[in-house]
Symmetry: D2
């Protein structure tokens, strides 16, 4: 009774690698699967995901079978499970601003990706029968992300913007998705359980007790190419805006909070370390402080949310939703059009899943 | 339109001190009051609390006006606000097992408290017109706590058991409250925002994402007489059982979790430091760890919850509730008869407050 | 040119297990050996250690070959290296107060260990040709430790008191070792790099800059039988005295410092977690604070120091040193007769090693 | 018997403010002075410091009496002590690259500081009778720092380079100081007790026990103008090089260690927070990890070292030392010409002080 879900991906890096492994593990060891919120969303199991296309600019990845590309050297994602050959090769995508900043020093662009006609992407999405396109380009690649978004809208393929670059926050693109009757989810994928999810949950907890938050910081360091890229302040500008938006939705004055990224620590690899501090005034003006160190593997964390987002997107496409799927975005993304507290966002998401079941 | 709420207290220590100061601050600086969840519960403002009786065994406190006793030397509670004379003196209460363990080395019992007739308490509750009796005796004083509970039930005074000693978990006492038509709240007051509230909220968050918690600890140290008393493993046995119950309600195997108290650190005074760690398996079996240091002033933290509990208790007495007020206990206490997750407990409590508004 | 060093041990638990493995590793993989301060001390390499006797009261261990006993169930020590059969079996030792407290609930005494004649130990030490006896009995076993010390002195075997029970702090025993011309090292073995070594090194650093330490704590939790035993305040009393002595030697007012042990956390196994905090006043009265979390495997940490202590003891025996070997004890033990700062203790130890080389 | 020591300063920011206050406190409350390593160095007490000139480019500071300028708004340094009027006004210094980067957005240059003749500085040093010039310019101001260094050398005034810009690492400048017979101290002032001092002391401790350090990081955040300036990767390049040099001297492979600065957190003000982690292999290959959070007031921390450096510099000038004073620089600076371990650096410094006493 299960049907397959055709997925295309832009940016075949470590998050993509984790998602491919997650789907493979769902097929191989369904009983032991941790971190799955819903076995089925709109009838789709995680094991139904079928990867039909993957676009990248990295000369070392283009042409490789997906099962091989996910273990390719620049990918910090750990191999958690063996993946069978998939008979789908990584295709070149348009370079544009994808390797601006520090990434350009460690990754060489494939020759076909420079000066590429963006319409190729639209055509390939149609040819491969993709239902959903997940955008996992590096932070700061505004042109690249918006190019893929436009191609998806024109091809009638639901779009999941995992990056902080503006798509759900770009009025023209939102109008395009609406006019073409295509669903859009974004911007800036939350981690399944990352520093921002934890931060906002804690702020909610304090506010529920009437405490006044005085000062707070959230500092993040890591060793994968995401953090290498974010070490450039120009590239990370959109990320910082997005994090501030997420904390603002939890009732914090977003201008005063300090939120990373805060450094590239090579030996950490795909491990991300977050330091959070919250100082608050409680009863009788007495002080409360929380200092937290969170350690998490970065890419699997993203795969957990993508497993939800991609299935919601497919469901919305079947239901011919036009434009942003607001009900699920507050829970799945850091910069949704309509932010909500952790509790409200979770409830709305769960209601949506129940509704489409 | 506001009416006063007559409160009696057994155990005039640092939590009592904070509650008295909290009510005084509500009268003096209502605008700046942090940590108040509800301005009114059943019509009562925090400023309506009127302390009509206080029982203690400490020779240094008996006979002092309450406004003076709250600054008395063994009391670690910080003076946050000036309190006017209250024309109510601390009265002797029955000693029983109140100073067993380490407390007996720093506190001398008042002569009248030994071999005292417990019925005196019942009589004094009636004479002073007390509506609610809050029990703040040291952990481990099972006899003492149950004696005050019996006196309250017989006097028709609502009982708030802030200690981990069994009252809501003692079938005979519960039956007594039911038969006398008197409300009972307990056992073991949560902190307004303490280590256990934080711990269970975090476990809820992880479970909501499908993560599997593997190992966890909660270690607490402090420098007030509560921690001095708890340094004795015999005295702290009921406390540990209660903490495990609270974590069990959050879906943790309570036999395997380590939960303090873990030491008396004199220089901390009324400051409590908690160390929490949670290790979990996430997507693809990837590890997640949280290490948290929480610093909080202990007694005001209790006063925040007491401010809720005492007003709920008075409301329940007016409504002639007989026995345990289950709807509010999961949120207010660590060992309620009917435990619930953080989210459910909070919702039930808020519903109750809305209902009696 | 190397000669063997005959070692006997009282208390064949996890520290003993680590020491046996450490010597085995020194023979098997000398190149990769971490944590060895000196390849040779007085001519002895670590690989020269030969275990000639081991005494224990545990029914599950007595009779087993040492190579098997070191993996026996109550022993939390991890197997780091394969150990060949050693043709030496664990022998029963006198029970006395060895299993008082919580240990008595998880360990059953061997029948031969009750009412045993202590002189058997002296005889066995002579018969086996032991040169050094290392005492690793559980904390709190004052009678047991002093019984072994007496046997060693009478047998002319150098004694290393790794426990906090008083031997170097017992005038009669010290006199006995002096009169018999036998060397004595103790009391209370430091970890190779444990919480107390770290704590005192940090205090030294602050003092070297003229900072005034205001408050400090050191909290330790673990999951091996040492921590199970120490959870009993009666058993841990000698341990706490010893830790305070060590901090006092670093210039801290030992009455005010809080130093654990602070709890048995079963899931930690042989891992020990220490929380240290130091608050100090610096230039212009400005505050400085350090909060440290240290995680370390407990037993190998002890083996590192034992590897030094046992070779020093053998050297001192050869040189006919009578009584306490003060020059090395400040570095190797927490409660030496003559304490010193970290820097001075280290220098004296290194000088001694150079002298006997 | 005490004589005064004439001090000039380039960069009248928060470190300067702390040094002025430190000297004032030494005069007012000599008994309570914390953080002073030596009451006298070469006969000079801290209270002997007399500030004869201060150069800055900030329009808000130029023209103010020093006693007022040290409380000026951009200065995050806390007022710890009242300072009397000093009859010395802040003078304009040459702008050059002083406000490149983020500082240019919050500080406006005084008109006289642009296109200023650098020889003015040399003349003013001579006119004011300065004996030592302390350079406290923002990190990244290579031109500015080297201009002041040249002026000092030509004026015969000892130079203390507290910045990471190359002076002791610039062969031409070193040659100039040598040929003019003028002492030079640098580069990059250590904190009195900062993250790098702590980091290197801990690495020394681990190495002294034979442990192998595997991974380590040092992350620093703060809220003063130093951290605002360092948020620009171009400006902070010299700082990072200098930190790596310091860790390298402690035996760490400097290419692999991650060392901040890691972010501007406005609410921290002059407080600096450092996160250190050290992972090592110990006995039997067992793992040891240290995770440290250090909180310290940044500017007083610098003043503590300056109090040593300025008196050493004056002493060296009297003794006609030509060029770098190597014996003290390993202890006082992060990037000395001749690095040493913490222990060796401290010993050499103490020997020097004893020698000139």
């Amino acid at each position: 009774m299960s049907r397959s879900l055709a997925v295309a991906v832009a940016g075949a890096g470590s998050c993509f690698s984790s998602l491919v492994q997650f789907a493979a593990m769902a097929r191989q060891q369904p009983a032991q699967l941790a971190g799955v919120m819903h076995e089925r969303i709109g009838g789709y199991a995680l094991s139904d995901l079928k990867f039909v296309a993957a676009f990248d600019v990295d000369r070392e990845k283009v042409g490789l079978d997906l099962s091989k590309s996910i273990l390719q050297s620049h990918v910090a994602a750990v191999a958690h499970v063996a993946v069978e050959p998939m008979d789908v090769a990584v295709e070149p995508g348009p370079l544009l601003d994808g390797l601006d900043g520090p990434l350009g020093q460690v990754i060489t662009a494939h020759p076909d990706s420079t000066d590429m006609d963006p319409d190729v992407i639209r055509r390939r999405l149609v040819e491969t029968g993709a239902e959903v396109l997940i955008c996992l380009l590096p932070t700061g690649s505004t042109e690249g992300v918006q190019t893929y978004a436009r191609a998806a809208a024109l091809a009638g393929v639901a779009f999941v913007n995992a990056t902080p670059e503006p798509v759900a926050h770009d009025a023209d693109l939102v109008a395009l998705f609406e006019s073409r009757g295509v669903p859009l989810l974004g911007d800036d994928l939350r981690s399944h359980l990352g520093a921002t999810a934890l931060h906002t949950a804690l702020l909610d907890l304090l506010h529920s007790r009437g405490l006044q938050v005085v000062n707070t910081y959230q500092l993040n360091v890591g060793g994968n190419t995401d953090f290498l890229n974010l070490a450039d302040p120009v590239r990370s500008a959109s990320k910082q805006r997005s994090k501030r938006r997420a904390l603002s939705a939890a009732g914090i004055d977003a201008r005063t909070v300090a939120a990373g990224p805060n450094g590239f620590v090579p030996h950490l690899g795909d491990t991300k370390v977050g330091f959070l501090r919250i100082e608050a005034n409680s009863v009788l003006g007495s002080p409360l402080s929380l200092e937290i160190r969170m350690e998490v593997e970065d890419s699997p964390n993203a795969a957990g949310v993508l497993a939800n987002a991609v299935r919601v997107a497919a469901t919305a496409r079947t239901a011919a939703v036009a434009g942003i799927v607001d009900d699920v975005c507050a829970f799945l993304f850091k910069s949704p059009r309509r932010p909500a507290t952790e509790a409200v966002g979770l409830r709305d998401f769960q209601d949506y899943v129940k509704f489409v079941a």
